[in-house]
Symmetry: C2
Subunit: 340 residues, 2 copies
């Protein structure tokens, strides 16, 4: 805590703390002369009102919380950039909580935040979250909550996502158009909204090309070594794929690693496309084709929606479910030469 308190100011000025407090809040009950004296000394001594006293009085914490699975991920760090930009303009503070994809941590964090520490919550749910009671509790609480990217479908809260099914379709069709016929989908485990969406797009594209029977989904996870093992078995197995759609960048990286180990040529022997927001994907060997998500915009829009609720403004129905499209960047990993 800073040294200069309201009491000290009052003593120095020979006024009551209440007069000092009202002067600083520009109350009309106080004379201009007194207000000027108080403000001058407050400025000189660098007095800052205690935010907790102010929070209690105004019932506002001027703080929002953002709950994300991990921070070491270009998608989520770009989202944070968007959120922070909006929060700063609104004069709000941003608390960050990482679940590390752990459902228990997520539950603890949400429980902790129910006590009025924040004016609103933004969350992208963990991929181990299968029960949603900790979120249901928010439905009855007064704390605004907005989902982004990974949502809990059954809860009536606003959400900002990308068009995962459409993007999964685009990625898969891109491989089919470049000649692939045996395309495998590397999926995240669990029942995340985004996994289901991306997978359904994959199936839809195969179906459109009459290849629904060839659908093969392999679940990967957080452990690189286990992923590489699964991918190695896939690439050395009887039913070798000629294309891979990776639901997250990590699995594409694992695929590249295994291909390097096996001296397998990408894209000659295997084409690879991945959901990824890594700017350096263009520098990979070979440059990685990607589905790029509008991460910054997702952060920006979900923060905008959250502040509308906090400010008690009515949401348009179009603002309750915002979908921002992802786009395809074709590079050499799917046989597309890049322009220099």
């Amino acid at each position: 805590m800073d040294n200069v308190t309201l009491k000290k100011l009052a003593k120095e000025l020979n006024l009551s703390p209440s007069t000092v407090s009202r002067s600083l809040r520009d109350s009309h009950e106080i004379s201009q002369e007194t207000k000027d004296r108080v403000k001058a000394l407050a400025a000189k001594l660098g007095f800052q009102p205690n935010p907790y006293a102010s929070s209690l009085r105004k019932n506002k914490s001027k703080t929002i919380a953002v709950i994300i699975p991990e921070i070491q991920n270009n998608f989520f760090s770009q989202v944070m950039n968007g959120v922070e930009e909006v929060a700063r303009q609104k004069g709000y503070h941003v608390l960050i909580y990482l679940t590390h994809e752990d459902y228990r941590r997520e539950t603890d964090i949400l429980q902790l935040l129910r006590n009025g520490r924040v004016d609103g919550v933004m969350i992208s749910v963990s991929n181990t979250t299968t029960s949603f009671e900790h979120l249901d509790a928010y439905q009855n609480a007064d704390i605004p909550l907005v989902f982004f990217d990974r949502v809990y479908e059954n809860m009536e809260a606003p959400r900002v996502t990308t068009d995962d099914a459409e993007a999964g379709f685009k990625a898969t069709e891109h491989l089919l158009k470049t000649g692939c016929r045996k395309v495998v989908f590397l999926s995240m485990a669990g029942n995340l909204s985004i996994s289901c969406g991306r997978k359904s797009g994959y199936i839809k594209a195969l179906t459109k090309y009459g290849l629904a029977d060839n659908a093969r989904v392999i679940e990967c996870g957080p452990d690189d070594e286990i992923n590489r093992q699964k991918i190695r078995e896939l690439l050395q197995g009887e039913q070798k794929p000629d294309g891979i759609v990776a639901a997250v960048e990590k699995f594409a990286v694992n695929t590249y690693e295994v291909c390097r180990d096996l001296d397998m040529d990408v894209p000659q022997q295997l084409k690879v496309i991945s959901f990824s927001n890594l700017p350096a994907a263009a520098l990979f060997d070979p440059p990685l084709s990607t589905i790029v998500q509008p991460a910054y915009d997702i952060g920006l829009e979900s923060a905008n929606v959250l502040f509308k609720i906090i400010d008690k403004k009515k949401l348009l129905s179009s603002e309750k479910k915002i979908v921002i499209p992802s786009h395809l960047v074709a590079r050499e990993s799917t046989g597309c030469k890049q322009n220099k």
Copy 2:
């Protein structure tokens, strides 16, 4: 704010709010039977004490702030992971502030935090920070402050850094040992502690090899296009370098982009090494040799030091300046074949 307040609990139980409050804090003045009744109802209704009332009472916010230049950077996101791990174990909340390398934002944030919103501050200063009055103000305030990575040398605050000079030396000597004689250093603009350290290590290595006269430093910045222009001029100029030490990963990425444009072979025509914490550096074309900083450990250690100060424990003199070494990972961009 949640609906269940202390007052409502009290009314429901037919007790005074003060009795309820003391029961929840396990006061010995209250009978066990009453405490049990209060706690049972509080648990049933999901009552959470107001953190701001509690902060006012205890003079603790249970919150720390981390101020970083950017979040879309593997180094800082790994640091955040380390900080968050310690904070979680201590039951603390973490506020995150991004300066976007803007001195004015940094000043605003620090001013904002002087009012007791947080119990401590961790900061890595922006590269546009040249005046330090906003930090000096903390020297007289009661808020603990710890520097990490980028420090303000003249302030008597604890700091956790890596051995930038030693790492700059290691990177440069690595190039010299692989045969380079015309090594250029791509530096961040400004007078950041880390830039100066890395640059001094570069000079020291050249001097050791009798090449001090060949030293050439080019200042790069946040704008990719300007960086590429500078690098293009360098690589097409009279005095072509045979090696590049990039002070940050972004400049190595810019170098790769220009080499691709100019059909210049890395490492045949130009060897490249960079400070970088990007796990995917191994997948670059060619795989990028890197100096890897102990980002997670820097986050962990600086949070540990901060909490020691918050908890009013005495710091050992070895804890006031902690230096954690970086390490070299040699790959094909400096002509080193990787083991599979």
